[in-house]
C-alpha cells in the first residue's frame, strides 16, 4: 500500500478550475518529486492534500484512510507536515518559539532538537532571534526544521531551493537525504538538478493534470520527455 494516494483530484479555487485530474501514489520512504512548469498546479496539489483547498470530486488517501474531508489541523495530526512555498515563518516569534509551537506538547525532545541543530547550525546560533530578521536561507531551514521537530510520516515541501545560494542548496540537499532516511518527503521543485539528485519516484503535473509518473532514473534518461513536459532546454 502506498503512503499517500491521490485519486482523480479536481480542485477549484473560487471560480477557476485549477486541478482537473490529479492521480498518483507516493510510496513510503525516500523522496518523491513533483515537477511541473510554473502555474501547473504543484502548490495547489500540496494545499489540497493539506486540506487548505477542498478537492471535489476526488480523494486523498493516507495509509489507506480517506482524509479528504478532514480539517487541516486534523490532517497535520495524522503525521503530515507542510513546508509552504512562502515558508510560513512566524516573524515576530523567535526561532525557538517557532520550533516549540510545532511540538506536540510544548516541549522539545532533546535528541530531535540536537539533530536539527546538527543539520542547521544557524538555528542554534540564532535561537533567540526574532525570525523575521533571519536570512532567506535561514528562514527556509527553520521552516524545514519545524516540519521535523516531531516524528512525521510525510513532509510536503514546496520549492525549498527558491532564491538560495548554491552552497545552501547543497546543504539543504544533504538535510533532505538524511531526513528521508526515516520520513517520506513529497518534494515540489523547479530546480531540476536538485530534484534529480534526490528523487526516487516522480510525477510531472501539467495544466492541472498528471502528465507522467515513473522513476526518476528513467525520466532522467528520457531527454525528449523532459523537453515535452518541462521545456528544460528553452
Amino acid at each position: 500500500m502506498s503512503l499517500l494516494s491521490l485519486r482523480q483530484m479536481k480542485t477549484d479555487i473560487g471560480q477557476y478550475s485549477v486541478l482537473h485530474d490529479v492521480t498518483f501514489d507516493v510510496p513510503e520512504g525516500g523522496v518523491f518529486v513533483l515537477l511541473g512548469r510554473n502555474g501547473a498546479g504543484k502548490t495547489t496539489t500540496l494545499r489540497s492534500i493539506m486540506g487548505l483547498w477542498q478537492p471535489s470530486p476526488g480523494s486523498v488517501l493516507f495509509r489507506g484512510e480517506d482524509i479528504t474531508a478532514l480539517h487541516t489541523a486534523q490532517i497535520a495530526r495524522k503525521g503530515i507536515a507542510y513546508v509552504p512555498e512562502n515558508m510560513g515563518i512566524f516573524g515576530t516569534l523567535t526561532v525557538d518559539e517557532n520550533l516549540v509551537l510545532a511540538t506536540a506538547n510544548g516541549r522539545f525532545d532533546p535528541a530531535r532538537l540536537k539533530r536539527i541543530h546538527a543539520l542547521f547550525p544557524a538555528l542554534e546560533k540564532f535561537r533567540d532571534k526574532q525570525a523575521w530578521s533571519l536570512s532567506g536561507g535561514q528562514k527556509q531551514m527553520l521552516s524545514v526544521a519545524r516540519a521535523i521537530i516531531e516524528p512525521r510520516d510525510l513532509i510536503l515541501i514546496d520549492e525549498p531551493t527558491k532564491g538560495l545560494a548554491p552552497s545552501i542548496v547543497a546543504a539543504m540537499g544533504e538535510a533532505f537525504r538524511e531526513i528521508s532516511a526515516d520520513t517520506t518527503i513529497l518534494l515540489v521543485e523547479q530546480n531540476y538538478n536538485f530534484a534529480r539528485s534526490l528523487g526516487r519516484d516522480m510525477a510531472v503535473i501539467d495544466d492541472g493534470r498528471v502528465a507522467h509518473t515513473g522513476s526518476m532514473e528513467s525520466f532522467a534518461a528520457d531527454k525528449a520527455l523532459q523537453d515535452r513536459l518541462l521545456s528544460l532546454s528553452v
Partner: protein
C-alpha cells in the same frame, strides 16, 4: 519630506523607537501649554483615557488580526459593559457610599465582574451566531455587525430607557489628590493603574504562554498554524470572548469616568476605537496600547490648546501616522 522622515526614523530608533512617541508628544505639549500644573492634569487625564481606550480596542485588534474579522458591533460590548456595571453599582448603593474602602471596592469589583461575565457570554453568543456564518466575507461582516450594533443599542434603549443613566462612583475614588497647585482626579489614576495591570497580564499571556504564542502566530499566518495541527477557529472563540470581556470592562470603567451614560456611548466611542486600532497596527496589543495612549494624550492636549480642533484631532492624528507608517505604528506582522 523623505529626508525628514528618515531622520525622524533614525532618531527615534536610537532612543527606543515608536514607543517614545507619546513622550515626544507630551514634551511638545509641555512647551506649548506652559503651565506645568495644567499639563500634568491633562497628561494624567490622557493616560487614563488611553488605558480605557486600550481595553476597548485590544479585542478588536486581535480579532481582526487572527481571523480577518471586521467587527463593527464591538462597541455594543462597551455599552453593555457600562450599563451592566452601572446597574450593579446602583443596586449596591449602600456598600458604595459606606465609609469603608473594603465595601467600596467590593461593590466596584462586583460591578466589573458582572460586566466581564456579561462580555464573555455575549461574546460567545455573538461569535457563534453572528460572526461564524460570515467568516471570510468582509462585506457581510460589515453589514451584519453594524446591524447587530443597532439591535444592541435599541435593546439598551428598551431595557434602560433613553434618559442618561447616572453612574455611582465608589466613595474612595471620588475627589482629587492636591499636590501643591496640581490636582489629580483619583478616578483617573485608578483607571490608568487598572488598565496598565490588564495590559501587563495580556502581554504576559501573549508572550510567555503557549496559547499566547499560538495567538500571535495565528495573527501572522493562520493557515500555517492550522498546518501545524491547531484549530485556529476554536482558539478564535476564546480570543473573541476575551476581547468582548475587555471591551465590557473598558465600558464599565468609562461609565465611572463619565458618570453619565447614554445608549449611544458605544457608537460614539467606536470611531475613536477604530482609529486607535488602525494607528496602532492591526493585531498587536503593544501597537494598540501605543495608539490608545497617543489618542488619549492628543485628545486632552488639543482639547485644551485648541478646543475648536478637538473633534478633528483624532482624524488628523490618524492621517499623519498613516502617511508616515501605512501599516500603523507597530503592526503585528513584519
Amino acid at each position: 519630506m523623505r529626508r525628514l522622515t528618515t531622520t525622524l526614523e533614525t532618531t527615534l530608533g536610537r532612543f527606543g523607537g515608536v514607543n517614545l512617541l507619546p513622550v515626544a508628544v507630551a514634551l511638545v505639549a509641555f512647551v506649548l501649554i506652559g503651565a506645568p500644573s495644567s499639563w500634568l492634569t491633562l497628561t494624567v487625564a490622557g493616560l487614563a483615557m488611553g488605558m480605557m481606550l486600550f481595553l476597548m480596542a485590544s479585542g478588536l485588534s486581535l480579532v481582526f488580526g487572527l481571523m480577518d474579522v471586521l467587527n463593527f458591533g464591538h462597541s455594543a460590548f462597551v455599552s453593555f459593559g457600562a450599563f451592566v456595571s452601572a446597574t450593579v453599582l446602583a443596586g449596591m448603593g449602600a456598600w458604595l457610599t459606606a465609609d469603608s474602602w473594603v465595601l467600596n471596592s467590593l461593590a466596584l469589583a462586583a460591578s466589573y465582574l458582572a460586566a466581564i461575565c456579561f462580555g464573555l457570554v455575549a461574546g460567545w453568543f455573538f461569535e457563534t451566531v453572528i460572526i461564524k456564518p460570515v467568516y471570510r466575507d468582509h462585506l457581510r461582516q460589515i453589514l451584519i455587525t453594524i446591524g447587530a450594533m443597532i439591535v444592541a443599542e435599541q435593546a439598551i434603549l428598551a431595557f434602560w430607557g433613553g434618559t442618561p443613566f447616572s453612574v455611582a462612583r465608589p466613595h474612595f475614588l471620588e475627589g482629587s489628590w492636591i499636590i501643591g497647585d496640581v490636582s489629580i482626579e483619583i478616578y483617573r489614576a485608578f483607571a490608568f493603574t487598572l488598565g496598565a495591570a490588564v495590559f501587563v497580564m495580556l502581554f504576559f499571556v501573549l508572550n510567555r504562554t503557549r496559547i499566547g504564542l499560538l495567538i500571535r502566530a495565528g495573527v501572522e499566518d493562520r493557515e500555517m498554524v492550522e498546518a501545524l495541527g491547531f484549530r485556529v477557529d476554536r482558539l478564535f472563540i476564546g480570543v473573541f470572548m476575551l476581547g468582548s470581556a475587555l471591551a465590557a470592562l473598558g465600558g464599565a470603567m468609562w461609565a465611572g469616568y463619565e458618570t453619565l451614560i447614554t445608549p449611544h456611548m458605544g457608537a460614539e466611542l467606536m470611531i475613536v476605537v477604530f482609529i486607535v486600532v488602525i494607528i496602532g497596527g492591526l493585531g498587536s496589543i503593544e501597537g494598540t496600547l501605543l495608539g490608545a495612549i497617543m489618542v488619549g494624550l492628543m485628545s486632552n492636549y488639543i482639547g485644551f490648546l485648541a478646543p475648536k480642533l478637538a473633534l478633528a484631532s483624532n482624524m488628523i492624528l490618524m492621517v499623519a501616522i498613516l502617511l508616515w507608517r501605512p501599516n500603523g505604528l507597530r503592526p503585528a506582522v513584519k
